[in-house]
Every structure is written in C-alpha cells, then in structure tokens.
Symmetry: C2
Amino acid sequence: MKVLPFLEIIREELSKVEELILSESSLSYKPLAESVEAILKSGGKRLRPALTILASKLYPADSERAIIAAAAMELLHAATLIHDDFIDQSSTRRGIPTLNSLWPPAAVVLAGDHLFARAASLAAMTGSPRVVKIFAQALKTICDGEIRQLFGAFGWPQDQEDYYYRIYAKTSSLFEASAEIGGVLSDAPEEAIQALKEYGKNLGNAFQIIDDVLDFTGDEETMGKPTGSDLRQGVVTLPVFYFVESGGDESLIVKALKARPEERETALRELVEKIRNSSAINLSVKEAMNFVEKAKEAISFLPQNQYRSALRALADFAVERNY
Amino acid sequence: MKVLPFLEIIREELSKVEELILSESSLSYKPLAESVEAILKSGGKRLRPALTILASKLYPADSERAIIAAAAMELLHAATLIHDDFIDQSSTRRGIPTLNSLWPPAAVVLAGDHLFARAASLAAMTGSPRVVKIFAQALKTICDGEIRQLFGAFGWPQDQEDYYYRIYAKTSSLFEASAEIGGVLSDAPEEAIQALKEYGKNLGNAFQIIDDVLDFTGDEETMGKPTGSDLRQGVVTLPVFYFVESGGDESLIVKALKARPEERETALRELVEKIRNSSAINLSVKEAMNFVEKAKEAISFLPQNQYRSALRALADFAVERNY
C-alpha cells in the first residue's frame, strides 16, 4: 500500500483501515459491488482515516477502536462522493468513471446508501455514543451544505460568508469530525479534543481552498476532470471572489453563470483563463496558508511527539499539492 | 393527534415522538424543508415507533430514551420511503405527491440523506451502542433488499424464498429492529429481547404480505396509488406465486412482466383481475395470519400486562386492514 511519507509511522494502522474499508461488502448484487469496490480503491489518499489515527495516537490509545472509526469516516466520505457525483452528474473522479456514468440512478442512490449504512455500522462498532453523535452530526452538516450549494448555484452576487459555510459543510466538517473522533477514542483531555477539532476544521478549510484553486490551475489529466468544473456547476469559489476584489470584470462572471448554454462555455473558458492568470490565485493560496498556520497553532500545546509532527506535516501537505 | 384505539395507552409517548419527528429541521432550504415536513405529516400510522414504545414498556423502562429511539426508527423509515419513491418513480404516496414528483433528483436524494442523518443522530442520542448497531444493521439490510429487488425485477420464474428475503429486508427488518430496540432500552432480559425481535419480524412479514395483497384488491383511492403497482415495477409478490401454485396461467405473468410496453399494461390489468378473483388472495391472507400467530406466540411468555395486550392487538391489526 502506498502511503504519504509522513504517514509511514502509522502504516500498519492504515493497512488495517484499508482492510476494513474493502472487507467483504454485504451488497448482494455482485456487479454493483465490484463497481463500488473499484471506487473505494481508486486512490483516495485516506487523509480522513490518517487524521483519526494520528489524533488518537497523541495520547495512549486503544488503536483497535480508532482503526474502526477511521474506516467509518472514509466510507462516509465515499458515500457522500457517490451521491455528489450523481447530483453533479460528474462523469469521472480520480480519473475513473463515476458510478452514475455506469449505473442507473436507482443503483447509484442505493450504493451510496449502502456505504452510509456500512459507515454507520462501523461507527456503532466503536461502542462510543459520542463518536456516533459526531459521525451523525457530520453527515447532517454535509447534507445541509450540499442542499445549500444546490439551491444557491448560479446565483451572483454571492456572499463570501456563504462560501466559507459551504466549504465547512462539504469538507472541513468531516476533517474536524475525523480529528475529534481520534481524540475522543484516545481519552484525550477535553481541551486536547477541542484543539484537534480546531486543527481539523482549519486543515479542511485549507484543503478545500487548494482544491478550489486547482479547479482553475490544475492539469486536466492529473485532476481527472476538466478545469472550471465548479463554475460549470454554478458554484462560485474563493478565487472568483478574489478576482472581483482585485478589480476583475464582474460581467464576465455573470455571463459565465447565466448566459445561454451555447454562449456559456466560451464565457466560462474566458473567465477561467483570466482568473488563472490573475492575483486571485495567489491570494487564495495565501488564505489557505493562513488556515494551515491556524491548524498548527491549534495543536501547539499538545504533546510533542512524532504524531504531532505528522499532523503538522499533514497540514503543510494540504497546500503543497500543485497549484 | 389520532392514534389507533389499542395505542391509547401510549398516547403521551407517541405525542412526544411526533414532536421529535417534526422538530425543527436543520434543512436550511425552507421550501424543501416544507415538502419534507408535509411528507412526515402525511398520515403514517407510526407503527414502528409504537412498536419501540410498547416493547420498552413490558419491563420497567426509561421512556425518554425509548421515545428518542422511536423517532429515529420513524425517520429512518421516512428516509427509505423517499429514496424508494425516487427509485420507483412513484408519483404519489398516502395520497399526496411524492418528493420526486415535486423536486429534481438531486434535492430528493439529499432530502433522504438528510433524514438518514437525523435518524442516526437520534439513534446516537440514546447513548446505547447496541441500539446504534441494530439501527445501522437495519439500514444495511433495507439497502441490500432494495438492491436485490431492483436487479431482480421483471424476472420470471422467481424463487419464493427470494420473496421472503425481500419482504424481510424491506419491511420486517425494521419492525424487528424497532421491537428489539425497545427491549434493549428497557433492560429486558436477553431472552425477552429475542422474543420481541421474533415478534417484530413476524409482524413485519404479516404486514407486508397484506400490503402486497392490497396492491391487488385495494381501492385505488384509499391506497393513493393504482392497483398492480408492484407488477408494474416488475416486482413479483406472494399472490402471484399462489396464483401459479393453484393452477393459474403462467404465460399471463410472463406477458405482464416482459411484453412490449404498449401491450404490457393490458396484460397487467388482465393478470391483476385474474389474481384478485382467484384463491391466491385467500391463501396469501392465510399466510399473513400464520405470521400473526407466530408473532403472538413469540411473546406469549412475556409479562402479561396492558402493553403485551397492545402488542397482540397490533399483530391482529396487521391483517385486519381491508383486503
């Protein structure tokens, strides 16, 4: 199994998580089970499980339960991606075909539900009501964020506050929950749990902002999806706000969001090109870096050991991807 | 609030369940929240919550937790109905428009997910890992049943065993879980919990068989959906098996399932009419009654009190609906 260099110290735990994630699916329709398995295997970096495991290691931990919780978080993440791709009608993710490009809607919805169920089942297996509560709350937040994004799409002007709520709901809430759960399962002191939560939230923000930047600057092949895909879904992200703030032409945005279909794609490509070459990219990256610093700051009073170092490295990694 | 006569003894608890079910939704998009609320209010009989409450009362119980769990079971049920109606593309349920007839697919999927999340959150609030485990297992079973039904649809010949698995997965598993959870939360002895589980499963079987009978014999207006809707979805139910067993013409079934669309509806109506007037209906009802007897038998050694009497009445009610 490939793991990021700074996660070598938890390689053993991550392999066990992997086993749990891929353990025999209770999906009784084989071909669909195989498609789901292909998605589970398609190279996610397992950042959320890593977060849970690392967070659980800062204090003397029961690693069995942390491994189970870590697998739950990854399956919850996978379930939301399946429903997301269906909602966005995306055709590829991580370079492989999405479930909705292979199966009818009914099968896609059920496959997602099935992964929710498996995730909830694992969360329950930790035996910790607090863990299940955090898990359920994260799921609620993710759904609500999706719903807001869906009904807020294609609107302009938009509120930057709303952007931060959306990225929290979509990404940071699950990072936050993953870190918090690790803390809870290691019986860390309450203030350490809160610090891990804060770390996770800020890490998630940084991570999502870089994702949003990469949607403008990324290489289509590496990303496995065309650039500008957020705007194509009507979703406005941080670089767009910075583009306007630094004097960019707002009418381009209106056109890219609201023009008639035959004109939209051209307007969209023009806007993506303009933003890519504007200061909006650097400003966004800087903002992500601020969140990385906040994440590190949050855990600065926790025990200084190799796991805390790995959490710091994970924070740096969030912004070190190519942009 | 209207409650069934034999549930008067738990009216107070059921009102509290109702409050929890309808308590402020965290769905931040108001119009969708209102549609979901309309569905939650649209006159389900709250049989699953009643089951949890009654089961929790046989022994000295902490009714607060049973109420929370009961609400969780009803919300889980509602969530599966929303995804079901989407999958089946049903246009009405209980006489009101389904969510999928009012909203785009994305909103429907997310509304269902949102109810799953609320249900899981309530399950977690019971503070009982065993309850959450039962809850998650029921969700897994329901999904798997749906998936089997989806991919097994329109097939003939079919296995009667498979029918029993499907109704277990679709209905009985949730009845079983609702009863089991009630027992768990009242700290009933383990053999009483197992008895309640057995009761719930048999009750669910009886209930679903009658539902399947009503799909042939029911009045379209009362049912809020056209007769023969299962066959229209390619789903073969118990009366169809009995129709064949008692010498009915199998070629009619093949035609009703596999004919070209323009001929299918006629074939289907003919088959529904034939089955409705055949002994298959009585044989199916008799089978449902057998399950009612098994349900009552299962709880015959439990404390003889008004709650056990209500459970017996509930079992009778399952087959006393019009058929």
